[in-house]
Amino acid sequence: MTRQDGNEKDCILRLRGISKQFGAVSALSDIELDVHAGEVVALVGDNGAGKSTLVKVLAGVHQPSAGTIEWCGQKVVLESPSRALELGIATVYQDLALCENLDVVANLFLGQELSPFALDEIQMEVRAWTLLQELSARIPSVREPIAALSGGQRQTVAIARSLLLDPRIIMLDEPTAALGVAQTAEVLNLIERVRDRGHGVILISHNMEDVRAVADRIVVLRLGRNNGVFKADTSQSDLVAAITGATDNSVSRRQARMTASQEA
């Protein structure tokens, strides 16, 4: 295990003892997580490890059953998504949460429209184009409804939207799962750019290659509990062992089989 307490000053977000119950099921129990300014924290774990639940707690969608959340040293209650946004926690959800009947501009600015009583469409459109160009996004028209866009394009729109408010922390739930090779690289570049600007990034991914490429720390969840914090240079097998909870797991067995057959 590496540093978990870290430097007191630059710690933006600190979770202590966060638990979440859905009826009889404990989705999260006693989770600890620190996020500092200017670092990428990867959150990894198998299906059902509680990653998405944790994201929703941080985004204000779910309220934790127990535990405390500290924001810049102060205890806060994230009672609603708007509260989380206000503090500066932006989220890109796995299901993207876009309105398919609205166009790209409307989705980017949803809830944050410029001049509420006489929407400034032109300013919003210009801002949308600049934002999308910064992400070198390939979107032919921002006046098409979201329904007309491909999966990758929708992902880009969702990420662009999270950056609109210049948040302190951005959470990305499986951002590269639907993306092509070039776009994945772009998103990873983007994550680094966001980090270098001093934001904290929480990255949730199943893709170990992506995680090891950009993460400063890798936090492993297993069955709703913390299961270790690793550095980015940790070997793949150690990570997999932490994720699956055993050094002898299906991944390592397969690896061994492959090595054996190569040697034979």
Binding site: P116, F117, A118
Partner: protein, 417 residues
């Protein structure tokens, strides 16, 4: 990719993608329109075709149908239910429904009769009281929907009965109260029309607004390096629109003229159109109708948006009831019953508001009610009994909903959601 041809103008910000077809000028606009219709973005096309068919059929069967005075009557009749339909558009946009608008309007007309005529309170007080009842009912529906998760379909169905009961209760055994003919309210609902010169002047306003707004938008967009509509297109639209409007006004002025009540209705349609398309509230309404969860996560207070829509719907229903009473010069047990409910909802749907939420405009109320009222008016001229009228109106509603569903499937197939 580099842009080297310096002879061409600078690449527009929104036209830089090479895959995007460059629809410019007249032919481009036409091509865009055909594309949209083919993919299920029908806009006002069904209404235009519907009105054309209806007026052709009825004027062949009875030439009186297209007589100026008959059309003036039609506009008088359309205004009251039009207000109700405008409220229905608000709730339909959220994917909710209000089935009690008819009863709400009936209760409002009864309240006018009881408070104003029977109790002798000043007319504005009675109107205020009725509107307050509308607000209260909207709040009740919002509470049932937000707090108890009760589907609006069921909540408003219960409301339909309860409000009808309230209407019968306050009217008492006499059952009907006549409103004084000389009062301004009844005159507003029956005889008051615009002076001809004023109506022609007002009919110039939309064109002037289009011109002003179009030029302003053009200047702002090109300053921001965005593509904009061709000037020729703007002029053409403006010209046809103004000529059409002036002709309509002229034709109606051959009869009694344009009812003030209808003008008020159109004014409210325009206000609602502005609110829905150009304000944050309107954007939120469409977002909640399209994907409530996404709207919630974007920080929109979904409950408040629902509340505002239910309150608006009940208030417009109340207004419709008041104007309906003014039109009939009476508050009776029959007010707001029978087909009022369905006519208002059908108008919203026929005008292009989707029953599935997130799609439609305020203009749907106006154009939808014209179709509905034209059918009803034409059938009355043919001396058909109300039994046949109900059946035919029912059939038209079914066709409208079928068109809506088919357009929705087509949009899904063409990736337009």
């Amino acid at each position: 990719m580099t842009q080297t041809d310096s002879g061409k103008t600078r690449q527009k910000l929104d036209r830089s993608d090479t895959r995007l077809r460059q629809d410019e000028g007249m032919s481009g606009a036409l091509r865009g329109f055909i594309d949209r219709v083919r993919s299920g973005e029908l806009g006002l096309l069904p209404v235009a075709i519907g009105l054309l068919v209806i007026s052709t059929v009825f004027s062949i069967l009875n030439p009186v149908f297209l007589a100026p005075n008959n059309l003036v009557n039609l506009l008088f009749d359309a205004s009251a239910i039009g207000f109700i339909a405008l409220g229905v558009v608000c709730v339909l946009l959220l994917g909710e429904i209000d089935l009690s608008v008819g009863s709400m309007s009936g209760l409002a007309s009864a309240m006018i009769g009881v408070l104003w005529v029977r109790s002798g309170l000043p007319m504005p007080v009675a109107v205020g009281g009725a509107l307050a009842a509308g607000v209260a009912m909207g709040l009740v529906y919002a509470l049932l929907r937000n707090r108890f998760g009760m589907p609006s379909f069921v909540a408003t169905l219960a409301g339909l009965l309860a409000l009808l009961g309230a209407q019968l209760y306050i009217l008492g055994p006499t059952g009907s109260i006549n409103l004084p003919f000389s009062s301004s309210l009844v005159r507003f609902g029956q005889v008051m029309v615009m002076p001809a010169w004023l109506s022609h002047l007002l009919a110039l306003l939309p064109g002037a607004f289009l011109l002003f707004n179009g030029l302003r938008k053009m200047a702002l967009r090109s300053a921001a390096n965005l593509s904009h509509e061709a000037a020729s297109l703007l002029i053409l639209r403006l010209f046809t629109f103004t000529v059409g409007l002036q002709f309509a006004v002229h034709y109606l002025n051959l009869g009694r003229g344009i009812p003030w009540m209808f003008a008020l209705f159109v004014l409210f349609v325009m206000i609602m159109h502005y609110a829905l398309t150009r304000t944050k509230w309107g954007r939120s309404v469409y977002a909640v109708g399209g994907n409530p969860e996404a709207a919630r996560r974007a920080g929109i207070k979904v409950e408040r948006i629902r509340m505002s829509a239910f309150v608006l719907c009940s208030m417009f229903a109340t207004a419709g009831g008041i104007f309906g009473a003014a039109r009939l010069a009476s508050a009776s047990q029959q007010a707001g019953t029978a087909d009022v409910n369905l006519n208002a909802i059908a108008a919203a749907v026929i005008g292009g508001t989707s029953l599935f939420g997130g799609r439609g405009t305020a203009w749907a109320a106006l154009f939808g009610i014209l179709v509905i009222q034209a059918i009803s008016n034409g059938l009355t001229l043919l001396n058909l009994s109300s039994s046949l009228r109900y059946m035919i109106t029912g059939g038209v509603l079914a066709i409208a909903v079928i068109i809506d569903s088919m357009a929705r499937q087509s949009r899904a197939n063409h990736g337009r959601g």
